[in-house]
């Protein structure tokens, strides 16, 4: 048989729980969280891969993988159903000598060395499944080749006051990295790592093996692999990314990122035909906007039936807004029903919720304590009020 290879394979870390999304990730992994009326977070890195010409992707799952596995399926929606390559779910497994859960990001990749080596790649891209962005990884790969780096880290400028939340890269004028600081208290620069790495494959394999044998390592890319490589004098470069990039790991950032889709010149455009975001599409007829409906500054997916008022909101497939109901400044996930006279403001409502008649969820953004969040399938009883900032994962009859 002819030995086949892939120049570049991608490894997508999708095992995170996303505990700061509270009720939204009770039963699903963070990358499976719904976003932008028809997408899930993982659609963005997967679409970026296929649009960048990377057709071999390992998706590493651990926390609540069922729905994510089902969503990815055979990868056909992303054109990743391939005879050689394609998308593969990589779960923790039992081995002859030892078996274990993935212990850290580096250990997760280490445990799937066989998968990568099957394709005999020259380069490996490491991605995470919790960011919303459009990025051409092929340009980054070109830069990686041009600089002759062993590792290239995508980086974006963040506001200086937020820099201490990120892994910060301190670089020379040519873009080479001389220092890597994980969440520094006093950051020297505002160039943040995006958690997107391209490694020359053999170097990656070498350092993963060494790290695995190091008893003191926490087996994490940011904390262990990258500093070790830098100390060993490997060539490490930053790759500047300019564009929209958002970590949607918190309730407020998830809300903001959804709102960034709205407006005439949105901060983030998912309708860009040059860089399509592929997803598993809902099977539903066009949305129906009724006689008494008012819809302004919103994004609405297929299968919705709107008879009430929708303002500055993002509604996923099959949402019903009955007559007299109001949805404002909110993200509503699929098949939720908002009944007559109910009011939902400044909230994120998960799938299959029911807001009964005249119930109130959330408070106006100005006066609110925060975003109200309802987990999957929650029912809010007739006339009940859910205060702003409240997070519910059970049916609610009031205090």
């Amino acid at each position: 048989m002819v030995a086949r290879k892939k120049e570049c394979v991608a490894m997508l870390l999708a095992g995170g729980q996303g505990s700061r999304l509270y009720a939204l990730t009770n039963n699903i992994a963070k990358p499976a969280v719904a976003f932008g009326a028809k997408y899930r977070i993982i659609d963005f890195p997967l679409s970026n891969c296929i649009n960048s010409g990377i057709d071999t992707v390992g998706v590493l799952t651990q926390y609540e993988p069922l729905e994510l596995n089902e969503y990815i399926g055979n990868g056909q929606p992303w054109d990743l159903d391939r005879a050689f390559g394609g998308v593969h779910i990589l779960s923790p497994y039992q081995a002859k000598k030892k078996s274990s859960w993935f212990e850290g990001t580096a250990n997760a990749i280490y445990q799937n060395m066989n998968f990568m080596q099957k394709y005999n790649p020259d380069y490996v891209v490491i991605l995470s499944g919790d960011h919303i962005y459009k990025m051409d990884y092929s340009k980054m790969l070109r830069a990686h080749k041009e600089t002759g780096a062993d590792c290239t880290i995508a980086a974006i400028e963040v506001p200086m006051k937020e820099a201490s939340r990120f892994g910060i890269l301190n670089t020379n004028p040519d873009g080479s990295i001389y220092q890597f600081e994980e969440k520094p208290k006093e950051p020297k620069s505002n160039l943040a790592s995006m958690g997107i790495y391209i490694f020359t494959a053999q170097k990656l394999f070498k350092y993963l093996k060494e790290d695995e044998e190091n008893q003191n390592s926490s087996k994490d890319f940011g904390k262990d692999i990258l500093p070790t490589m830098l100390n060993a004098g490997e060539k490490m470069f930053s790759y500047r990314f300019k564009g929209y990039w958002k970590d949607v790991g918190t309730i407020s950032s998830l809300w903001e990122s959804n709102m960034d889709l709205l407006g005439e010149n949105p901060a983030f455009d998912v309708g860009d035909s040059d860089w399509k975001i592929h997803s598993r599409n809902p099977l539903a007829p066009p949305e129906y906007i009724g006689d008494k409906a008012t819809v302004h500054n919103s994004m609405i997916a297929l299968g919705c039936e709107i008879d009430g008022t929708v303002e500055h909101s993002v509604l996923a497939a099959g949402v019903i807004v009955e007559e007299g109901a109001v949805v404002k400044d909110s993200v509503i996930m699929s098949d939720t029903v908002i009944k007559k006279g109910a009011r939902v403001v400044y909230s994120i409502i998960d799938e299959n919720c029911t807001i009964e008649e005249n119930a109130l969820v959330g408070q106006e953004k100005k006066e609110s304590a925060g975003i109200a969040v309802l987990g999957r399938g929650v029912k809010i009883m007739k006339g009940v009020s859910v205060p702003g900032g409240k997070i519910l994962d059970k049916d609610y009859k009031g205090e």
Partner: protein, 370 residues
């Protein structure tokens, strides 16, 4: 039980009824309902009834159909055994492409010949209907029928001149079949879907060729109605036969009725080609009332009593009423449309005012710029 049947869909047979829309495409690929093509209804009914092998008979203009169907995966019909099987016309130097349904069936005998399912469901593409074929097959078996024709009883007077009408007795046995009867009244309209056994179909085609028959309707249905066991299966639900541009317009607008939508889309999924469009966006200025909006639209104007297909743009100050706007049409600013049907990729420039009426909607052909 339904997996004991294969489907045969005629994609071209009623093309001449809507020349405006079928000029560059088959009847099967005529867009309908915001994001569908007519064939999606026939195909989805088959798939939802458990049929996983469907032969699609084509004749001409079938590029758009092939593009729409692809491998069949969007209907779950990309299969190792069966799935969607395109049946283009067969002809050689002695044989011209078919001119009627019998010749078309003769040309595809290889398809039913090589299957082993018991029954064949033969459907055209002009019916907007949600039907469970399992029930029809059960009826066909119970009646031990040779042919079961599905019909819909029209309660109001209809112009049946494009249709075949049936006259079933109390047992369901069809006693007379009329083709394009001139005087319409309360009629049992044949919805152009029938069931027969695969063996019966093959024998019928062989006999017809031997006897030089040319018309399935005139030579077989009407003339052999006494000798063949033809039964009528009464379909009780919503049925729309699309046989003219006026009917196309009327039945499209019926989708704005919630009950019609519930029946067509509520109980089961209608499958169609996936385009990965973004969800539609409504601007601060948007006013949308009583309309169906597909994905990928950008609405900055007013849309009332209308159907917008995928990727339509409506500019600021424009007012679209009682209209059907097909895929990727771009409407500029301060445009007014009333009772207009635009085909795909039409561009309407700023400040144009166009109006038709319900009986005669103003039609703009594919790709035109106005």
């Amino acid at each position: 039980m339904a997996n004991s049947a294969v489907g045969v869909i005629f994609s071209n047979i009623h093309d001449e009824n809507i020349p405006e829309l079928s000029r560059h495409r088959t009847m099967a690929s005529v867009p309908f309902g915001g994001r569908y093509r007519l064939i999606d209804f026939a195909l989805s009914n088959m798939v939802n009834s458990g049929i996983d092998t469907v032969g699609i008979v084509t004749k001409y203009n079938y590029q758009s159909l092939i593009d729409h169907l692809g491998s069949g995966k969007d209907w779950d019909l990309a299969r190792k055994d069966g799935g969607i099987i395109l049946l283009p016309p067969y002809s050689d130097e002695t044989d011209a492409p078919y001119t009627n349904r019998l010749e078309a069936l003769k040309g595809i005998t290889g398809f039913p010949n090589h299957r082993n399912e018991e029954y064949v469901i033969i459907s055209d593409c002009d019916a907007i209907v949600h039907i469970d074929f399992s029930a029809v097959l059960r009826y066909h078996e119970e009646k031990k029928a040779d042919i079961t024709m599905i019909y819909h009883e029209e309660t109001e007077k209809v112009d049946s001149s494009y249709f075949i009408t049936l006259d079933p007795d109390q047992t369901g046995r069809v006693r007379s079949v009329k083709i394009n009867p001139a005087h319409g009244g309360k009629e049992n309209l044949y919805i152009n879907v029938m069931v027969m056994s695969r063996k019966f179909l093959l024998n019928m085609i062989a006999d017809a060729m031997m006897m030089g028959l040319t018309s399935f309707g005139r030579d077989i249905l009407t003339k052999q109605v006494d000798t063949l066991k033809i039964y009528g299966y009464k379909f009780e639900g919503y049925y729309a036969g699309v046989n003219s541009l006026q009917k196309y317009y009327k039945h499209s607008m019926e989708l704005l009725d919630q009950d019609v939508r519930k029946e067509l889309f509520g109980a089961r999924d209608i499958y169609t080609k996936v385009r990965d469009s973004a969800p539609s966006k409504y601007s601060e200025n948007a006013v949308v009332k009583n309309s169906l909006i597909s994905d990928g639209c950008l609405i900055d104007g007013t849309v009332e009593n209308s159907i917008l297909f995928r990727g339509v743009k409506v500019g600021k100050g424009s007012v679209i009423k009682n209209s059907i706007v097909m895929q990727d049409t771009v409407i500029g600013e301060n445009v007014e449309l009333n009772c207009v049907i635009t085909d795909k990729n039409v561009v309407i420039r700023d400040r144009r005012h166009l109006s038709g009426c319900e009986e005669l909607p103003y039609f703009i052909a594919k790709g035109r710029m106005i």
